[in-house]
Amino acid sequence: MGGFFRHMSGRRILATAALAWSVTVAPVGAQQGPIKIGVPLPLTGALAGGGNQILWGIQYAAEEVNENGGLFGRKIELVTEDTKGEPNTSATVAAKLATQDKVDAFVGGFGSTSDFALLSALQRYEPIFVHAGSSSVRLEETFGKNDWYYHVYIWDYHRQKAAVNFFKSIPAVKTLAIAYEDKLYGTDGSKFTQQYAKEAGIEVVMNEPFRAGTPDFSPILNRAKGLNPDVLFIIGYSGDNIQIARQAEQLGAQPKLLVTQGAGEKRSDFGPAGDNVVVIDLWSAKQSTPGLADWVKTAEAKRGGEVVSSAVQGYVAMKTLTDAAKAAGSWDRSKILANLGSMTFDTPYGKVAYAAAEMGGKHQLITDKSMIAVQYKPDSGQEVVWPSDKATGKITYPAK
């Protein structure tokens, strides 16, 4: 080879080298094509609201990478499929993405029941799967131990642990009344809340179920009024949370503090009935986290409106994958999985890392430690009131 170059001028050597580089290096990316990421999400049906928010977050994170030249010169291509939140459709979508589209990794999933079917169908392929949504402990117990499975969103018990830790932070809180929707979500929530409250020395004076969507919460409110607990904690869906706050105001049955688990409702939905209501949530654009204000500003400009918590879940799921891939230097499955498990990621939640969870999950990103309590203020605003390192204001207690 040295002899071949000896007969060439410097310019020709450079030209030949450039040509060789262009043939051997640059087209590698082009020949390999884009990195395909499968995005299975419920985009229609009852779970479509959250599914579309998560999708936006994933798209935003992918756009950020592509606008900066992609990953090792390769663009990210999202292959989005609608699971409709249905188990059968989810299983079909999983098989299509894995075998027909041959995606390089998965980011998405939302809705525990349908995601159980999705992951069951996928586990034989052992893909890199970064799970943006779903919180059923059954998923953690079944899939959490796999090396290829990474879970961003909290598990059910993290919410309750955060809620009880918040109650503990208010010295006057000694008694707790729980009202929960009577299906899996609420029943599990009630079970974990009672367990953690007992450990924290808080007495549970009421534990009443309700049917989601019921038009009349007066039985629960009147019972709670008679018991006068320090906190009335609602484990329900967004409509229930709004309705119970509204009826408490109409019936003059406001407890000392009404606390709900955030389920996608907005401050404006509550109107005056929301004054001083506390919502246990995953994330707030207002929380005190270094660098968050700038991120929110840019993201909201891109979004053309408010960026909500579920959109952040999608963004963070995609970002952890692309950061891990970038650090690997090439699309090397083993290296990416190792990086996902060992790196610390700078996200809108702050600096977070995947770690083992309580019920067998090996790679859990967000836990009760990331969660916050937001109190709706009478001026229609809201403040993060817990934990102290993320707080932007002080809690009003008792609220009535």
Binding site: T44, G45, A46, L47, A48, G49, N52, A179, D182, E208, P209, F210, R211, G213, T214, P215, D216, S218, P219, I220, N222, R223, G226, S238, G239, I242, Q243, R246, Q247, Q250, L251, G252, A253, G264, E265, D269, F270, G271
Partner: protein, 293 residues
């Protein structure tokens, strides 16, 4: 259990009965006359709720006027549905009719989710009537409004059926459509009219839903299940029977939820257990015509 707590539970349950009665009012007329089991009635209620919500939120229209506008809009929508869709299905097998309205229900629900998202919306309207406060008993003004409108809708349905020419034709056509046809009654037109009136009632009920509940694509699903239970309890097509059925259902649900431990889960079930017992003893419902075999 105190006198105040029982009074509160009974009064609130009766106002909730007004909401159930309003949803059941149109359905009992439609089912009674055309025998079409309209599963999409709950989605008509949902559309009425969305319309009342938007008219109030975007144009500051009073909920009273919003309810009336929803009634008119859903009446017209029902006419369209009947002419384009149901008039053809009516000529087919009963199972096809069931599947057709079930399909329409699912279609409307999914369109609503796609267009408006599943998020609940709340109409922040002022109380339409003054609240009642007597010692520890408190009934919000909007609950009175719901009871009032529910009762009015029933009286209107009853008046149409018993005091108008169309009402006479409706009864005739529902008893024996072929005989009514021979008697010169335009049965198709009578069926259409009953479906339109039922749709209009659903629209007004939607306004009530927006007033005391929240607006969401799935909001009509549970309500229509209750409405079917109410008309079965009262007797198919029997309007006063349905009013009594609504009160029984709401009281069973409300009192169980209030006074039985863990009653929030039992309330809905107890109401339907009651329905099953009534149907075992009287298959035609409390006020339905007994059929001799």
């Amino acid at each position: 259990m105190t006198i105040a707590s029982v009074s509160q539970a009974v009064l609130l349950s009766l106002t909730i009965a007004g909401l159930y009665a309003a949803v059941a009012a149109g359905l009992t007329l439609t089912v009674g006359v055309t025998r079409i089991i309209n599963f999409a009635h709950g989605e008509f209620v949902m559309l009425g709720a969305f319309l009342t919500y938007w008219l109030h939120t975007r144009y500051a229209l009073s909920p009273w006027l919003g309810m009336a506008a929803s009634g008119v809009a859903l009446g017209l929508f029902s006419m369209l549905v009947y002419r384009v869709f149901l008039a053809r299905v009516l000529k087919q097998d009963e199972h096809n009719q069931l599947l057709a309205t079930l399909g329409l229900s699912i279609l409307l629900l999914n369109i609503a989710v796609i267009l408006w998202s599943p998020d609940p919306r709340v109409m922040q309207a002022p109380a339409l009537l003054p609240s009642l406060r007597l010692g520890d008993v408190s009934i919000p003004g909007n609950n009175f409004a719901v009871a009032l409108v529910g009762l009015t809708l029933f009286l209107v349905m009853l008046w149409i059926k018993t005091h108008t020419r169309y009402g006479t034709q409706m009864r005739f056509a529902s008893d024996d459509p072929e005989l009514a046809l021979h008697a010169g009654i335009n049965v198709d037109r009578v069926f259409e009219l009953s479906f339109v009136i039922g749709g209009a009632a659903a629209g007004v009920s939607g306004g009530l839903v927006a007033l005391v509940l929240y607006v969401q694509p799935t909001v009509g699903v549970d309500l229509v299940i209750r409405a079917f239970a109410i008309i079965a309890l009262g007797g198919l097509g029997n309007i006063p029977g349905a009013l009594v059925g609504a009160a029984i259902l709401a009281l069973a649900e409300g009192l169980t939820s209030t006074f039985v431990p863990q009653g929030g889960s039992w309330g809905f079930g107890v109401a339907f257990l009651l329905l099953l017992l009534v149907l075992i003893v009287r298959p035609s419902g409390l006020f339905g015509k007994q059929v001799q075999t």
